[in-house]
């Protein structure tokens, strides 16, 4: 009996407590930097696309929401001809970011992606590409990779020794 009355009084006192509600559109919540939100495609510090269209993100994606088509420019540099993410299917697991060998695909802190029409959630390459390097400033895949592209042969990279002549007899 007494406990019931005390419970009623306790609940009444909650009237004067601070509310836990965050009044969202007016009051933005703090988003941690590792938040897995809207997916973007970043560029390397020179302004070139980082994506080399290796399809690893599309393979890693558990819901299969990433579609792309690889192409090659005249110097042998691969790039995606189109790159499409269907955000109505995306579960924001971040596996694509983990799979990406060139740090091209990244998840950002933006989560405000509501749309009135479902097809507006299909993002094309021009919607995904941003102008900067995203979370990995200064990283350029082709500057550290042992791959010959325009203006750089094998072994000419930073911290890279010339390739071993596999047909020679010297140790």
């Amino acid at each position: 009996m007494f406990s019931i009355l005390r419970a009623i009084w306790t609940v009444f006192l909650h009237l004067f407590r601070r509310k836990v509600t965050v009044l969202y559109p007016e009051e933005k919540p703090r988003i941690p930097p590792r938040w897995r939100g809207r997916i973007i495609l970043s560029r390397d510090p020179d302004g070139g696309e980082r994506c080399v269209a290796c399809y690893l993100c599309a393979v890693a994606c558990p819901v299969g929401c990433i579609a792309l088509q690889a192409a090659e420019d005249e110097y042998g540099r691969r790039y995606p001809e189109f790159f499409r993410i269907n955000f109505s299917r995306c579960i924001f697991c971040g596996f694509c970011e983990e799979a990406c060998p060139t740090c091209a695909i990244q998840l950002t802190t933006d989560f405000e992606m509501s749309e009135y029409y479902r097809h507006n959630l299909v993002y094309e390459k021009e919607d995904l590409l941003i102008s900067g390097p995203g979370k990995h400033p200064g990283y350029n895949f082709y500057k550290v990779a042992g791959l010959a592209i325009k203006g750089k042969d094998k072994g000419e990279n930073e911290n890279e020794s010339p390739p071993v002549d596999v047909k020679g007899l010297l140790p």
Binding site: I4, A7, I8, T10, V11, F12, H14, L15, R17, R18, K19, V20, T21, L23
Partner: protein
């Protein structure tokens, strides 16, 4: 102003005020529950969310009004109307202020008890006509609960009737000029309050609905405005019980300084708030606990109250 025009004004005034209070309680209840759970509750529609009932009303009126093909159609349609009609009729005897009451019946208290008992038909018929086992269980629970709580609800008021020497609600209020009946009839007040909670099947005594066990209880099959009418009936019921507690135990319109109507509504809204506070606090008892509590605790308490009050009145001569 002629007498007829005055009566019409009172009748339609009471109707309009009660319907708007019932609608406003949707907002009041959700807002207060929010506050008591450290939330804000609905605060978007209009200033402080006060237009929430309007939005709810537009929504509930534009919902599909569906009658299940297996339901007993006429009864199914009639049931939600009964609860609203009986509760609104019961408001006829409530004295809002001196001279402001629809009917000055000399059996007002009995009339209220009769109509609040008729309200159970709504729940019982609604559950029966739905032809749904959960609705039927809800209706059966409602019937059993109403029968057991009706008994001592009436008995708890007899002390008041004895002290005032009248069943007329206006005279009962007048008899409290010196001392509110809550003081000599505290037990009666507690018993009546608990019975009132059970009568309007509000939490913690909402066994007929019991969402966690019975889907939605007696109104599982209802949709659209028929469901809305059950809700309006429930809120009207809360208002009626609160108004009667204020009238019978807390001196109705009596009070200093402020006009009588204001005092009446202050007291009524206090008890409405108490109803909502009970809902925010207490968990639902098991069904057998509810019935046992009714017959084994509340009924003897009501009888004891009756006996002691009668003895004192006799001794005082």
């Amino acid at each position: 102003m002629s007498e007829t025009a005055r009566y019409l004004l009172i009748v339609f005034g009471v109707l309009a005020v009660m319907m708007s209070i019932a609608a406003g309680l949707i907002w009041v209840e959700r807002r207060l529950l929010g506050f008591w759970q450290d939330r804000y509750g609905p605060n978007r529609v209009g200033p402080f969310g006060i237009l929430q009932p309007l939005a709810d009303m537009i929504k509930v009126l534009t919902k599909e009004d569906w009658v299940p093909p297996f339901a007993d159609r006429p009864v199914f349609i009639l049931a939600p109307a009964i609860i609203v009609i009986t509760v609104l009729l019961a408001f006829a005897v409530v004295p809002f202020a001196p001279g402001i009451s629809v009917a000055d019946l000399n059996v007002g208290l009995l009339y209220f008890l009769a109509l609040s008992s008729l309200g159970v038909y709504s729940v019982a018929l609604g559950g029966w006509a739905s032809d749904n086992k959960y609705a039927l269980i809800g209706a059966l629970r409602a019937s059993a609960q109403m029968i057991s709580y009706e008994v001592f609800m009436g008995l708890s008021l007899m002390g008041v009737a004895m002290l005032a020497g009248s069943f007329n609600l206006r005279e009962i209020v007048e008899a409290q000029r010196r001392l509110w009946f809550v003081a000599p009839q505290f037990l009666g007040f507690v018993v009546f309050f608990i019975a009132g909670v059970a009568e309007t099947h509000r939490l913690p005594f909402d066994l007929p609905e019991a969402e966690s066990e019975l889907v939605a209880g007696f109104h599982s099959e209802y949709s659209g405005m028929k469901f809305g009418l059950f809700f309006v009936g429930e809120y009207l019921g809360i208002t009626l019980i609160s108004a009667l507690i204020a009238t019978l135990f807390f001196g109705g319109w009596l009070g200093p300084l402020l006009p009588p109507v204001v005092w009446f509504f202050i007291k009524t809204f206090f008890f409405i708030g108490l109803f909502i506070l009970l809902r925010a606090t207490l968990p639902r008892p098991r069904y057998d606990q509810l019935i046992r509590f009714g017959w084994k605790v509340m009924l003897p308490l009501a009888l004891l109250n009756l006996l002691v009050t009668g003895g004192i009145i006799l001794a005082a001569g």
